[in-house]
C-alpha cells in the first residue's frame, strides 16, 4: 500500500469541521491557561468563532464526491453533514447563553467551554460514524463530557446528584450497548463496518443472537434520546444540572442520538426492520403519552422542559419509523426547529433565573408587567413547542404527522395529535402565569424583579442568542420550503439510506395498489358501458 493510496483511503479532508473544533478546543485551553481569569473575556468568542468556521466547513462539504474516510469508519455524506450542523449550532447557542451563567457561579469558564466542545466533538463524530469502534468511542466522548458538564457546579449538591445519577445510568446503558455491538461483531463474522455487517447478517438470516443484539442496541440508543421507558434519568438530571448544560443535552446530545439511530438501525438491521419499527412505535407512543402527561403536573420549569423534551422525542421518532424520504427529512426538519424553539425557551429560563434565582413556574406569575420581552420570547417558544400556528413547531409537527400518515402509521399519528393537545395545555399554563396574571397577583420573585438591563458582561451574547432563536422560531416555519427541500436532498444523496428507502417505497407501492385497483375496475366498467 503506497502513501498516495493510503492518503486517498484515509481521506482526511472529510473531518475538517471536526479538526477545526479540535483546534478551537486546544486554543481555548491554552489561552485559558496562559491568561487565567482574564481569558474569560475572549475564550467564549474564540469558541464561537471556531464553531462558526466549523459550520462553514460543513457547508462546503455538502455533497462532496467521496464522503467515506478513514477506511470506511467515518461517513461524511449529506445526512451526517445536516446532523453535525445541528450539533454544532446547538453548541454555539449553548455557549452564547452560558457565559453569564457560568461566571455568576464562580467556576472557570474556559474549562466549561473546553468540556462542552469535547462533547460537541463526540456528537459530531457520532453523527458520521459508520464503524462499531468509532461509534463507541464517539458515544463515550459525548457521554463522559456530558457527565462532567452535568456535575460542573460542584458546590451545588443537586448538580452532584444529577452527575452521579447520569453517570451510573449512562455507564450501564453504555455497557448494554457495547454488549449488543459485540454480538453484532460476532454474528457478522468479525466485521466492524456497518455496511459489511449488514451484508454478512443477511446471509445468516434471523437468529436469537441478532434479536438480542437489536434489543441491546435499542436500549443504548433509547437512553441517549431519552425515550420512555429509558427516560428515568432525564428529569432529575435536567433539574440538577446547570441550565445551559440542560439546553445542550436536550438538543445537541439528542440529535446525535437520532443520527446514531438512523445509521445503526437502518443500515444494520434491515432484516429485522419490522421488529425494530414495532419496538420504536411502542417507545414513541409511550414517550408521547408519558412525557406529555407527566409534564402536566410539574411545578419546576426545568422539570417541565425535561418531560416536554421526552414527549418531543416521541414526535421525532414518528419520522424515523415512517422510514420514507419525507419521514427522515421531516425528522431532520423537526430537530432543527426544535433546536431553535427549545434553546430559545432555555435562554429565557436562564435569564429569568439569573435575575430572580428561581426556576419555579409559580414564580413567573405576572412577569408580563415587569419584563415584556422575556415574556414574549418565552411565550413564542413554548407555543411553538406546543404546535400553535403559524410558529415553526406547528409546521414541524405537520411535516412529521403527514409523513407518518402517508406511511400508514395511523395509530401513531393519532396518539401524536391527541398528546399535542395535552402539551398545549401545559405550555399555555406557563404563558397564562406570565401574561394573564394581574399586577396584584405578582409573585415575590417578580415583585423584586431587578430593572431590566442588558449591560452586565455576558448578557449581550445571551440576548443575541435569544433573539436569533426567537426570530427563527417565528419565521422558519412559514418559510420552511427551502429548508425542507434541503433536508430531503440530504436524505436522497445519502447512499447509506438508499436500501431502506427503496424498501419503504416497495411497501408503500403494495399498500397503494389495492386502493388503485377498484378505480381501475370502475373505469373499465365505465368504458365497457360506453
Amino acid at each position: 500500500m503506497d502513501v498516495a493510496n493510503l492518503a486517498s483511503q484515509l481521506n482526511v479532508g472529510v473531518i475538517l469541521p471536526e479538526g477545526i473544533v479540535i483546534l478551537t478546543l486546544l486554543t481555548v485551553l491554552i489561552v485559558d491557561i496562559i491568561r487565567g481569569r482574564a481569558a474569560n473575556a475572549i475564550t467564549p468568542y474564540i469558541a464561537i468563532g471556531g464553531l462558526s468556521a466549523s459550520l462553514a466547513a460543513l457547508c462546503l462539504q455538502w455533497n462532496i464526491a467521496n464522503p467515506v474516510s478513514f477506511l470506511g469508519s467515518f461517513n461524511g455524506d449529506p445526512l451526517s453533514v445536516v446532523f453535525r450542523a445541528i450539533v454544532v449550532l446547538s453548541a454555539a447557542f449553548t455557549i452564547l447563553m452560558s457565559i453569564r451563567y457560568v461566571e455568576r457561579s464562580g467556576t472557570s469558564l474556559g474549562e466549561f467551554i473546553t468540556i462542552l466542545l469535547t462533547a460537541t466533538l463526540g456528537g459530531m463524530f457520532l453523527c458520521g460514524a459508520s464503524e462499531l469502534v468509532m461509534i463507541f468511542v464517539a458515544l463515550e466522548t459525548l457521554s463522559i463530557s456530558s457527565y462532567l458538564l452535568t456535575g460542573y457546579m460542584k458546590r451545588d449538591s443537586r448538580s452532584n446528584e444529577a452527575a452521579l445519577k447520569y453517570l451510573l445510568i449512562g455507564a450501564s446503558s453504555s455497557a448494554l450497548f457495547l454488549y449488543g455491538v459485540s454480538l453484532l461483531y460476532g454474528l457478522s463474522g468479525g466485521e466492524t463496518q456497518l455496511g459489511a455487517i449488514a451484508a454478512n447478517l443477511t446471509a445468516g438470516g434471523q437468529s436469537l443472537g441478532l434479536i438480542m443484539a437489536l434489543v441491546f442496541v435499542i436500549a443504548g440508543v433509547a437512553f441517549k434520546i431519552s425515550a420512555v421507558p429509558f427516560h428515568q434519568w432525564t428529569p432529575d438530571v435536567y433539574e440538577g444540572s446547570p441550565t445551559p448544560v440542560v439546553a445542550f443535552l436536550s438538543v445537541g446530545s439528542k440529535t446525535a442520538g437520532f443520527a446514531l439511530a438512523v445509521r445503526l438501525l437502518v443500515v444494520v438491521f434491515p432484516l429485522l426492520a419490522d421488529e425494530w419499527h414495532f419496538v420504536f412505535t411502542v417507545l414513541a407512543m409511550l414517550s408521547m403519552i408519558l412525557g406529555n402527561m407527566v409534564a402536566l403536573a410539574q411545578t419546576s420549569m426545568k422539570r417541565l422542559l425535561a418531560y416536554s423534551s421526552i414527549g418531543q422525542a416521541g414526535f421525532v421518532m414518528i419520522g424515523l419509523i415512517a422510514g420514507t424520504e419525507v419521514g427522515y427529512a421531516s425528522m431532520i426538519f423537526y430537530l432543527l426547529v426544535y433546536l431553535f424553539m427549545n434553546l430559545g425557551g432555555f435562554a429565557c429560563v436562564i435569564l429569568f433565573s439569573l435575575r430572580t434565582g428561581t426556576d419555579q413556574i409559580s414564580e413567573y406569575s405576572g412577569l408580563y408587567h415587569k419584563d415584556p420581552l422575556i415574556t414574549l420570547c418565552l411565550s413564542l417558544c413554548l407555543l411553538s413547542l406546543g404546535g400553535i400556528p403559524p410558529l415553526a413547531g406547528f409546521f414541524g409537527k405537520i411535516y412529521l404527522f403527514w409523513a407518518g400518515w402517508q406511511a400508514g402509521l395511523y395509530p401513531l399519528v393519532l396518539v401524536g395529535l391527541v398528546t399535542s393537545v395535552i402539551s398545549i395545555y401545559y405550555y399555555i399554563r406557563v404563558v397564562k402565569m406570565m401574561v394573564v396574571r394581574e399586577p396584584q397577583e405578582m409573585s415575590d420573585a417578580v415583585k423584586n424583579y431587578p430593572k431590566v438591563s442588558w449591560d452586565a458582561p455576558g448578557l449581550k451574547p445571551l440576548q443575541v442568542g435569544l433573539v436569533i432563536s426567537v426570530v427563527a422560531t417565528t419565521l422558519v416555519g412559514v418559510a420552511s420550503n427551502p429548508v425542507f427541500t434541503l433536508a430531503i436532498d440530504s436524505v436522497e444523496n445519502s447512499p447509506a439510506l438508499s436500501a431502506s428507502l427503496a424498501k419503504a417505497k416497495e411497501k408503500s407501492a403494495i399498500a397503494v395498489l389495492p386502493k388503485d385497483s377498484p378505480s381501475l375496475e370502475v373505469t373499465k366498467v365505465a368504458s365497457a358501458k360506453l
Binding site: 407555543l383 400553535i388 406547528f394 411535516y399 400518515w405 393537545v421 398545549i424 394573564v436 365505465a526
Partner: protein, 520 residues
C-alpha cells in the same frame, strides 16, 4: 385584494404590539383605522362581486410549501362573502364598543386584530391546511381575551374554552389529513372530486370527525358546555366577537367541507344531524327559559339558534342553504346587538340578575333607547316578520320541510320558545317599576349607542328587503345543492345515462320551492 383583507389586520396587530409604552393609547386608533380599511376594502369586493357566478372569485394562488402540498389559495364565493362582510363590520363595531379606559390596550387590540385576520382567512381559504392554520390562529388570542379581560370566574371559563377548542382543532386536523391522505391526493387544495377516491365507510368516518370538530365550535348540543361559561365570563366586546363571528367558523366549516367535500357521506348522516339540530334547538331554548342571568340567557339562545343552521345544512336543499347563510349573518347581527345591550345594563348596574333588574324602559331614569333596541332585537331573534330573523328562519324551514318534516316542525316549536324566554326577559327587566336602587344610575351616552343603532338598522333593513341579504348566496347555494342532488341520484341510480336525466328531474323538484321574492 382578498389578501389585503387578511393581512391588513395582521400587520395592524404587529404595529400595535410594537407601539412604545408611552403611546399605548394610540393602539385603539391604529386598530380602528385598520378595521375601517378592511371594511372599506370588503365593500369594494362586494361591489365588484358577480352574483351570477357560483364558483370562487378574486382567486389568488401562490405555491407555499410544495413538499406537503400546502398552497396559499384564497377566493370568495356567495357563501363566504356575507360572512366576510359580517366579520369586517363587526370588528369595527367591537373596537368602537370597547371602552377607552381598557387595561393593557396594546395586548387587547393586537389580539382583536389577530382574530380579525384569522377569521377572514378562514372564510377565504381554499386550501384545507390553510383553513386549519387560520382556524387555529384565533385560539390563543381568544383565550387571552377571555382570560385577561373577563369576569370573576374567567380562569375556569377560558381554560375550558381552550381545551374544547384545542380538541376541536386536533379532530379537524386528523380529518383533514385523513381526507387528503386516504384519497391519495398530493395537495390540500379544496377539490370537489377528492371524495371519489374514498370508500363510503371512510367518508362517513371522516365526516363524523369533521362534525364533532366543528360541532364543538358551533356548538352542537352535547358539545356545547363551554359556550355559556365563556360568554358569561367574557367582556361585552369579546362576547360580541364570540357570538357574532367565531361560532360561524364551525357552521361555515361544516357547510364548506362537510357538505361541500363529502356529499355522499353527508347524505347518510343528514338524518342524524337533523335530530341533533332539534335537540340543540329545544335544549337551548328550554335552558334559556330558566336562566336568571341575562347573558347566559342570550348564550343559550345562541345554542338554540345554531340548531336551525344545523337543520338547514342537514336538509341541503338550495333554499335551506341560502337560509343557512342568511341565518349565520342574522344570528351574528342579532346576538352581537343583544350582547351589546346587555353589556350596557351590566356596566351601569353591576348586575345581570333578572330577579333584581326592573323597569329599565322608564323614560326618565331608565334606558328607554336601550330598552327599545332590546325589544327590537328580541323581536328579530324570535323571528317576527319584517326582521332579518324571520327571513333566515323562513328560508331554512321552508327548505328543510320537504326533507325533514317532523324535525322542521319541532324546530319551529323552538322559535315559539324563543319568544317565551325573550318575553320573560323583556317583561322582567324593562317593564314594571324601576326600583329605588337604580334611580341614579349613569346614563348611556348617545355615542356609545352608535354600534347598537347600526346593528339594529341592519336588522330592520334586511328584514324589509331580504333580497339584499340573500341574492349573494343564490348561485353558490344552487351549485352546492346540485352536488347533493347528484350524490342522491348516484345512490339511487347507478346507471349513468338515466342518472343524467334524473338529476335534472330531481333538481327541478327541489327548485320548485318558492323563490325568495315570495318572502317579500
Amino acid at each position: 385584494m382578498l389578501s389585503a383583507l387578511i393581512w391588513i389586520p395582521f400587520i395592524a396587530a404587529l404595529v400595535i404590539a410594537l407601539l412604545p409604552q408611552q403611546r399605548e393609547k394610540q393602539a385603539r386608533t391604529v386598530a380602528g383605522v385598520a378595521a375601517g380599511l378592511a371594511l372599506a376594502l370588503s365593500i369594494v369586493v362586494l361591489a365588484q362581486f358577480d352574483i351570477s357566478l357560483a364558483g370562487f372569485q378574486f382567486q389568488e394562488t401562490l405555491s407555499w410549501i410544495d413538499n406537503i402540498g400546502l398552497s396559499y389559495n384564497i377566493g370568495i364565493d356567495g357563501i363566504s362573502l356575507p360572512l366576510v362582510m359580517l366579520t369586517t363590520l363587526l370588528i369595527v363595531l367591537v373596537i368602537y364598543a370597547t371602552g377607552h379606559d381598557i387595561e393593557r390596550p396594546r395586548l387587547y387590540y393586537a389580539m382583536i386584530m389577530m382574530i380579525a385576520g384569522g377569521v377572514t382567512g378562514v372564510f377565504l381559504a381554499r386550501d384545507l391546511l390553510l383553513f386549519f392554520l387560520f382556524y387555529e390562529v384565533e385560539l390563543i388570542p381568544l383565550y387571552l381575551l377571555i382570560a385577561i379581560w373577563g369576569g370573576k370566574n374567567r380562569a375556569y371559563a377560558s381554560t375550558k374554552f381552550l381545551i374544547y377548542t384545542a380538541v376541536s382543532g386536533v379532530l379537524l386536523l386528523a380529518s383533514i389529513l385523513g381526507i387528503v391522505g386516504l384519497s391519495g391526493s398530493g395537495s390540500f387544495t379544496v377539490d370537489a372530486s377528492i371524495a371519489q377516491a374514498l370508500s363510503s365507510a371512510q367518508q362517513i368516518t371522516l365526516l363524523l370527525g369533521l362534525v364533532v370538530a366543528f360541532g364543538i365550535k358551533i356548538p352542537m348540543v352535547p358539545l356545547h358546555t363551554w359556550l355559556p361559561d365563556a360568554h358569561t365570563e367574557a367582556s361585552t366586546p369579546v362576547s360580541m366577537l364570540l357570538a357574532g363571528i367565531l361560532l360561524k367558523l364551525g357552521t361555515y366549516g361544516l357547510l364548506r367541507f362537510g357538505l361541500g367535500l363529502l356529499p355522499d357521506a353527508w347524505d347518510v348522516i343528514a338524518p342524524g344531524l337533523a335530530v341533533v339540530a332539534v335537540i340543540s334547538t329545544l335544549y337551548g331554548s328550554l335552558n334559556a327559559i330558566v336562566q336568571q342571568d341575562m347573558k347566559k340567557l342570550v348564550a343559550y339562545s345562541s345554542i338554540g339558534h345554531m340548531g336551525y343552521i344545523i337543520l338547514g345544512m342537514a336538509a341541503a336543499t338550495e333554499l335551506s342553504i341560502i337560509g343557512t347563510v342568511a341565518q349565520m349573518v342574522s344570528h351574528g347581527v342579532i346576538s352581537a346587538l343583544l350582547f351589546l345591550l346587555v353589556g350596557f345594563i351590566y356596566s351601569r348596574t353591576g348586575t345581570r340578575d333578572m330577579n333584581v333588574l326592573r323597569g329599565f324602559l322608564n323614560p326618565e331614569r331608565g334606558f328607554p333607547l336601550v330598552g327599545s333596541l332590546m325589544i327590537l332585537g328580541v323581536m328579530a331573534s324570535s323571528g317576527l316578520p319584517g326582521m332579518v330573523g324571520f327571513v333566515a328562519e323562513f328560508c331554512i324551514f321552508r327548505g328543510s320541510f320537504i326533507t325533514f318534516p317532523l324535525q322542521t316542525l319541532l324546530c319551529i316549536v323552538g322559535t315559539g320558545l324563543t319568544s317565551v324566554y325573550f318575553l320573560l326577559m323583556v317583561n322582567r327587566v324593562f317593564f314594571g317599576r324601576l326600583p329605588e336602587q337604580f334611580s341614579n344610575i349613569p346614563r348611556v351616552s348617545f355615542r356609545e349607542q352608535v354600534p347598537a343603532a347600526v346593528l339594529a338598522s341592519l336588522l330592520v333593513m334586511f328584514g324589509l328587503q331580504p333580497h339584499w341579504l340573500l341574492e349573494w348566496t343564490e348561485a353558490s347555494a344552487h351549485a352546492m345543492a346540485m352536488l347533493q342532488v347528484k350524490a342522491l341520484a348516484e345512490v339511487q341510480q347507478p346507471d349513468e345515462s338515466v342518472a343524467m336525466v334524473d338529476n335534472e328531474a330531481i333538481a327541478s323538484t327541489v327548485l320548485t320551492a318558492p323563490s325568495i321574492e315570495a318572502v317579500n
